[in-house]
Amino acid sequence: MATPRATAFSQSEMMIVAAARELAGQRVCFVGVGLPNIAVNLAKRTVAPDLELVYEAGVFGARPARLPLSIGDPTIVTGATAVTSMFELFAFYLQGGLIDVGFLGAAQVDRFGNINTTVIGDYDAPTTRLPGSGGACEIAINARQVFIIMRQSARSFVEKIDFRTSPGNLGGADNAARIRREQGWLGRGPSVVVTDLGIWHFGDDGEMRLDSLHPGATLEQVRETIGWEPRIADDLAVTPAPTDEELRLIRVELDPGGAYTK
């Protein structure tokens, strides 16, 4: 099924390339650390040269000269268009509606793109205490669209999440669209989920649908790593493998140490 290719690549590299390509035509992107950071920087060098990188720590128009080690690395400041207070960043840029795409990861996600990053188990006596919202809750509500990037596993793609930290399409698209409209939210919710196995978009009813399978991945793997009977597109595509140039940018410029991509 996989197309012949000149260069071998890792699942992480495929995720980064797939997420970067989804950013074609986007203008203002709220970046997270790790894979989203590399994806956004790759997009800026390929499909979205005008992309403005926004970091929640309070930077608009970042030009990081190295891979940021954290969400607040000093390299996102040097050479940026603007440093803002966090109040300005969340109030003017995010809640004010200037962010086109926000990236989110999750410990748990459900079929409607609702996200848990707070606890596994009961809130008051958790099995695992996770970091919590950070800026995710407001990104999910206010960014014009949300990209979710995470690896698939039966523990993380679940029928019912233990805690809703960040709203997605709630219980379905009709409900979500009505609530988002009535509450005055500017965000339309999640639009894509990029995993190590494929690319999911959200259908008219608000449920995620597998539109593209990464080269080498199988539908059997997809079903084994998801907690519900997944919806598969009739015209399921195969994600084009990373090009040599995309791999060069990742390996030479963006993550030369292979911290996120091995």
């Binding site: 966090m86 109040f87 919590g132 805690f163 005055g184």
Partner: protein
């Protein structure tokens, strides 16, 4: 409210005196700084002085609150993102949260009060501006208001829907780290600004820790860079390298090796306490800590230069 306006005289104090005088058992303390400019030196002095029953507020508790919780100074955390940025979890805190009502050490579980980042910033904003709440569009259709009943839905008085409100946060003491200040406390910061200004104006008492004290003329030559006037500052502590292992824009980089090292140390209670013995209780203060780190490690964190251009404010007489 005490009137803490002071005449413009020196507020320079030692870290030991500033913490002893201004941080009291049972206080709500905010050491702010979003990944940048985190006053580890102040946190360590609070541990060293064995303060107790503190409520610790910070958007991102970071390693400093993990260490302070391990040091037994805290009974409660107010926060929005609980993790070791770029590395993983905060293990000392998790031990006090996941263990149930009583931790293995016999200590009571740490009380948690959580928000989102914007909610925490809004809390400081309401505290700084003497308002009863801060409104925001976060929290709809989430479980956060159920987990924290202080997050409340309110009607717009103009009949155009509902928003969520968070209450003011007014720390008894806010502590921030900055590149420089005058002896009177006029404080200048560059690089990430986080919510230090909001947390400073919200506080009853304010400690500013700086890399260097500069003459007032340096401050006055660039007033746009001043985020906090000496008017609201109670103590200025000069503590070079006081933000290590976090960083100071233009002076030193984050010591990522320590952020990675803390993960295995903090997973083990005995190793955590041994670390505190060696690096906190066993040292008199930050100068000894820097000496112990060694010149090579310190030098390895110095960035190359990238100076700003100079602006002309104009001479208007």
């Amino acid at each position: 409210m005490p009137d803490n306006r002071r005449v413009s005289t020196s507020k320079v104090a030692t870290m030991r005196d500033a913490i002893a005088d201004l941080v009291r058992d049972g206080n709500t303390v905010a050491i702010e700084g979003f990944t940048h400019l985190i006053s580890f030196a102040a946190g360590h002095e609070i541990i060293r002085q064995r303060k107790r029953d503190l409520t610790l507020a910070r958007l991102t508790p970071d390693l400093i609150y993990d260490q302070m919780v391990a040091g037994g100074v805290a009974r409660k955390l107010i926060f929005s993102w609980l993790g070791n940025p770029g590395v993983g979890g905060l293990n000392a805190i998790r031990r006090r949260v996941e263990a149930g009502p009583v931790a293995a050490s016999g200590e009571p579980a740490l009380e948690l009060e959580e928000y989102s980042h914007f909610g925490m910033v809004g809390r400081y904003m309401a505290g700084a501006t003497n308002l009863p709440f801060f409104p925001l569009r976060s929290y709809f259709e989430t479980d956060l208001p159920r987990a924290n009943p202080l997050i409340r839905e309110i009607e717009s008085p103009y009949g155009d829907g509902t928003v969520y409100a968070v209450p003011p946060l007014k720390p008894d003491v806010t502590i921030i780290h900055a590149q420089r200040a005058s002896a009177a406390g006029d404080t200048q910061v560059w690089g990430l600004l986080g919510c230090q200004k909001e947390a400073a104006f919200a506080a009853d008492r304010l400690i500013v820790v700086v890399e260097e004290v500069v003459d007032e003329s340096i401050i006055r030559a660039d007033p746009n860079r001043t985020i906090i006037p000496g008017l609201i500052v109670d103590a200025v502590v000069v503590e070079p390298f006081g933000a290590h292992p976090s960083y100071v824009q233009g002076s030193y980089d984050r010591d990522n090796r320590f952020y990675l090292d803390w993960d295995p140390i903090s997973r083990d209670e005995a190793a955590t306490q041994a670390w505190l013995d060696e690096w906190v209780y066993g040292l008199a203060g930050r100068a000894e800590y820097v000496e112990k780190l060694g010149v090579e490690r310190v030098a390895s964190l110095r960035p190359g230069p990238a100076p700003s251009g100079v602006v002309d404010y104009g001479d208007y007489r």
